[in-house]
Amino acid sequence: MKLDFSFLWTAFIKLLPAVPTTINITVVSVLCGFIIGTFVALSRIYKVPVLNQISTVYVTIIRGTPMLTHLMILYVGLPLLIDGLGKEFGWSFRSVSIPMIGFAYISFSITAGAYFSEVIRSGMQAVNKGQLEAAHAIGMTTPQALRRIVFPQAFAAALPNLSNSVIGMLHGSTLAFTVSVVDINAQAQIVASTNWKFFEAYLAAALVFWGLTILIERLTALLEKRVNLYNRGGVA
């Protein structure tokens, strides 16, 4: 095989402008997913009537279907919904004014929400029940106890899973090409087909993703060291 190293480098340079798009999609979907996930997890842990059932259905369906189908359904469904409602109520807003990347943001946030809710839920369940009782015993209210005692410990317990889910969303963002958003993957496709060097282009894209993934893993490891200090018991 004649691996064209100089083209590998060229492709790499050409991919760089698309990196912010990938990062944007990942960050937006992770943040929104985290917020959705927290609400969903709390309503399931505390068995809030109605919300609990809705949450369970949401999580089960999203986790049981590919992320690609979420994007497809949203991409064709949302305009139908918005334009339908718009006609009904005489809005001037039309679905065509939603930017393509908006579909990716919304759809991936919905996907991420379901996965993050499970991560958050198992993190919360990993916290010993005695911790909450002890917090109550010294006179904290439940929100105080959650915020000051349970959440920090749950976060520490959930960190490895959180990191995995963030990486999952980073990798999942490659699906954005189906709604014509030019992320790293779509850019690789463009570079590949204009130069007829598919292997090098995708190899460059793979290396970029690999680098980003390792970066997330390293950051998690650092964070873990800080967060888990208390776990070791010593004063290291």
């Binding site: 992320m67 359904i73 996907t111 899973n161 496709q189 390792i214």
Partner: protein
């Protein structure tokens, strides 16, 4: 875009998609089998700490876990024929399906190798000591004591992987494979009922993952019947809780969100 929503199309397309389940499942089954092989091979040097091979298998696992499956599909599709041309094997005529299975196999193999490592190290050290103490050899201790217990521990990991792979196969259409998603792309071209197709598609995937999950749960209960005190008390959650306790925290039980 598209026509007015009409629920009858959802049913119609659902039925039309059913025959293509077997292609998706073929990819899943082929790649998981392949992945078990790759994963086992990659796990051994790390369990037995063989120099060089150990580093290679670490790089393998890191790369295939560190890059999106979509990119891996393209990489393999364009790269593998080139690489094999070096040893003068011409595979450019092989069906695309085979490339897809190899790509998913390499991908899942990376997760399998991590899973094996995690499951083996989750078996209590005392179990091996007890095996040695009654005079077992290293091989006997592994095959009779460690392996069966590790197997039970790894069922949920495997379940997760199989379902994640099923969802990942929805990307095979990008290489033109006629699996579920690929077929769904062709359905609404005449009728313009896109949303109905995609809902039907999601429903098919949901049905398969639901059934798979139930099957794995049964297998798990059976393999964990020795933990009866735990299993009887409640159905799934406690089994998982037991597992979570046994497993070191750094191995997440799942692929996270990456099982798209």
């Amino acid at each position: 875009m598209g026509a007015q929503f009409d629920i009858t199309y959802v049913f119609e397309y659902f039925i039309k998609l059913l025959p293509f389940i077997k292609i998706s499942l073929l990819i899943v089954a082929g790649s998981i089998l392949l992945g078990l092989g790759f994963g086992f091979l990659a796990a051994l040097p790390r369990l037995y700490k063989i120099p060089v091979l150990k580093q290679l298998s670490q790089i393998y696992a890191s790369f295939f876990r560190g890059t999106p499956i979509l990119i891996q599909l393209f990489l393999l599709y364009y790269g593998l024929p080139e690489i094999l041309k070096l040893v003068s094997i011409d595979i450019s005529k092989l069906p695309v399906l085979l490339f897809v299975i190899i790509a998913y196999g390499l991908h899942s193999g990376a997760y399998v190798s991590e899973g094996i490592r995690a499951a083996v190290s989750a078996v209590d050290r005392g179990q091996v000591e007890a095996a040695y103490a009654i005079g077992m050899t290293g091989f006997q201790a592994f095959s009779r004591i460690v392996f069966p217990q590790a197997l039970a521990i790894s069922i949920p990991i495997l379940a997760n992987l199989v379902i994640a792979t099923l969802k990942d196969t929805s990307l095979a259409f990008t290489l033109g494979v006629m699996e579920l998603t690929g077929k769904s792309q062709t359905l609404p071209t005449m009728s313009r009922h896109f949303i109905e197709t995609y809902i039907a598609l999601a429903a098919v995937y949901f049905m398969i993952s639901f059934i798979l999950e139930k099957l794995f749960h049964l297998a798990e209960l059976r393999l964990l019947r020795h933990e009866t005190g735990v299993v009887k008390a409640s159905r799934i959650s406690l089994v998982r809780k037991w597992l979570n306790r046994e497993l070191p925290a750094e191995i997440a039980l799942n692929k996270g969100g990456s099982g798209i």
